[in-house]
């Protein structure tokens, strides 16, 4: 191989090296753009309130595979209609709150409503404002199975088969035995167990349920980490990181070579 051929081969190799540096750089820049934009948004999520906003797009929700429960757990009386979809409570078709466990039953009295979940009791006013919340599990270390009012006493039956009465003055639970169980008194007409009803039209609740599942912050975090594309997204992010590493090295080599070439040209011209 003569000197001319050697020079030509070196030139060709350098050209190929730069071409691939450009190609990788261009491809990586798309992913870097995503990283920089989502990184900026994550840094300022409090300012933009992304942790409070939820994804409304059905397309994205479908992508995440978010689906609403097919049936709802509903209770109705003359005034109120209460439904639960996977621990999301709706009062008269309006979202109220996400509870810690599923809704067991609802009792109506002169003060308003008492909602019982397996772990908590919620006292609501007649205007459906939350008066108070009591943790059952923390107080008695058992989960509730049902709620009832007997002789003005609020009684819960637990999963373990025990009965507890709640003293509404001290909020202390009193364990009941079969001897001190209050007898049902139908004269207390102000207390009624809100009847469980069959829900026919829950499409609007299901739609609302879906739209409460993914916060914008969660979505941006997934975009940033690549989890939006599941394992392949993470893999792409890893490849991007590796490509950036290669670019930094190949860029440095190209710069060194160019510098060397410029020095040689300058010496020749002198």
């Amino acid at each position: 191989m003569n000197a001319h051929q050697k020079k030509h081969r070196k030139k060709k190799r350098n050209s190929l090296f730069r071409k691939w540096h450009r190609r990788i750089g261009f491809t990586v820049s798309l992913f870097l753009l995503n990283l920089s934009v989502t990184g900026f948004l994550l840094n300022h999520y409090e300012f933009f309130g992304f942790h409070h906003k939820t994804i409304q797009s059905n397309l994205i929700l479908n992508w995440y595979g978010i689906s609403a429960p097919e049936s709802a757990n509903c209770f109705s009386d003359k005034r109120n209609h209460i439904c639960e979809l996977d621990q999301h409570i709706y009062l008269n078709q309006q979202f109220w709150k996400k509870t810690d466990s599923r809704l067991l039953n609802v009792v109506s009295n002169s003060d308003g409503l008492v909602l019982a979940t397996m772990q908590s009791l919620y006292f609501l006013s007649r205007n459906l404002d939350l008066i108070d919340e009591i943790s059952i599990t923390e107080s008695i270390n058992e989960q509730a199975l049902s709620l009832s009012f007997e002789n003005s006493q609020l009684i819960i039956n637990t999963v373990q088969g025990h009965n507890f009465s709640l003293d509404l003055q001290t909020f202390e639970w009193i364990k009941l035995s079969s001897q001190n169980m209050p007898q049902p008194d139908n004269s207390l007409s102000e207390v009624t167990v809100v009847q469980k009803t069959k829900q026919t039209n829950i499409a609007s609740l299901q739609s609302d349920y879906r739209k409460r599942q993914i916060t914008l912050l969660h979505f941006i975090q997934d975009m940033h980490s690549g989890r939006i594309l599941m394992a392949s997204g993470i893999l792409i992010n890893d490849i991007t990181a590796f490509a950036v590493f290669l670019l930094a090295i190949s860029g440095l080599i190209t710069w060194q070579r160019r510098k060397k070439k410029e020095n040689v040209t300058e010496q020749h011209s002198i």
């Binding site: 108070d132 909020f171 912050l217 969660h218 989890r227 599941m230 993470i234």
Partner: protein
Amino acid sequence: MRLLITSICILFLTIPDTVNARQYMTQKEFLSLVFKFDSEQNKPKMKTLWLDDITQQALTTVLGHKYPKLRIRYWQRNKQTVWFLDKIGKERPISFAISIKHDEIQRINVLTFRESRGYEIHMQAFTEQFNQLGLDENNQLNQSVDGITGATMSVSAMKKVARAALVLARLVTQ
């Protein structure tokens, strides 16, 4: 190699994005700790405070939103009161217990932490900063509290809850 890659992919796909609630202390434990009662007879009586418009307004100024309940339960012995308050840090509520004595925080603890980040606020080294803090004339804490990197919103929630408890304690003890 193929097995390794498949295992890593499965691992990534099965990583849960939610963290279970961490309970550090119960209400009962906190009450017995701050009131130092040895039996149920010595336990201070629980009281209730109905939140009227003025109290709600005061709490709204401190918390940045209306308190979501109409009634707050608290425990009192002489000039010492104990409050159990919840505040959302980023997405989920954090349960706090605050003991106030003579308009100063005697002790503050995280009872249950439900957020995915910022659990460090339960650490004693952090919570001790609140001890002996009171309110200034603008209902702000009268001394600064050092933050924790990565737990900004949880720290902010804790500061707001501490201020809210001081406001409520002042209301029931004066």
